[in-house]
Symmetry: C2
Subunit: 110 residues, 2 copies
DNA sequence: TGTCGTACTACGTCTGTCGTGGTAACTATA
DNA sequence: TATAGTTACCACGACAGACGTAGTACGACA
């Protein structure tokens, strides 16, 4: 099974992550598993890529974090929630995707 | 008319350029005009991006350059020709594109 | 004379991704 | 009891493609 090089997907991690936050907050490990499952193992996001995307998007105001400190075994977990600005950004990126797709496909033979 | 940010298209300049070399050699200025025309002004490649892609792809053996020194006015023009390795790379990238597209569209709402 | 088009090149910066490695607690298996 | 695996991250630095800025040089046209 071929795997997508992450260089290709660059710039699209943001919308993939935001999509998974549209309906409810989530956290890194869960999101990474969902990406893997939803893509049928075709795309496995690198941990560092994921967590640096969180940092960047929080700085840009697209997501907000909050910590659950009451997990079993005294563990912590950092959740992320999409903001209204994040929803707008997601929408804009989706529209850009449609355009991009149309353009690229003009340069695909056959 | 919205314009595609080149960050989005990152990683795809290679196949766009190679597509335009599939049938005959060409050169920078011409390719840049073709991209603009074919995309209906939706994607205008930056000159530096284009020429650095040439350098990189020649280093990787995907294209070969040759210079036409006999232009009117004593001008020179550097042409690029796709190599067999370049054709293979183009094919592989096209297949990767299909996969990538399918994956990304799972994360596009609506 | 100056702008536009043609046809590049050099140099440095930015940013998203990636590689490596580390922490720490629980859980299943041998 | 040991150890491997899963969960759940974080820090640090490197890389590479894209980009911004600037410059060269010639011809055509107004």
């Amino acid at each position: 099974m071929a795997e997508i090089s992450s260089d290709v997907i660059r710039g699209y991690n943001d919308i993939i992550i935001l999509f998974l936050l549209l309906n409810s907050p989530s956290y890194g490990y869960e999101i990474s598993k969902q990406i893997r499952t939803m893509s049928e193992d075709k795309y496995i996001i690198k941990e560092t890529t994921l967590y640096s995307a969180f940092t960047r998007m929080e700085k840009n105001g697209f997501i907000e974090s909050f910590v659950d400190e009451d997990l079993a075994g005294g563990k912590k977990r950092t959740y992320y929630r999409i903001t209204p600005a994040g929803r707008e950004y997601y929408q804009a990126k989706c529209e850009e995707w449609t355009l991009t797709k149309e353009v690229i496909e003009k340069f695909i033979a056959g």
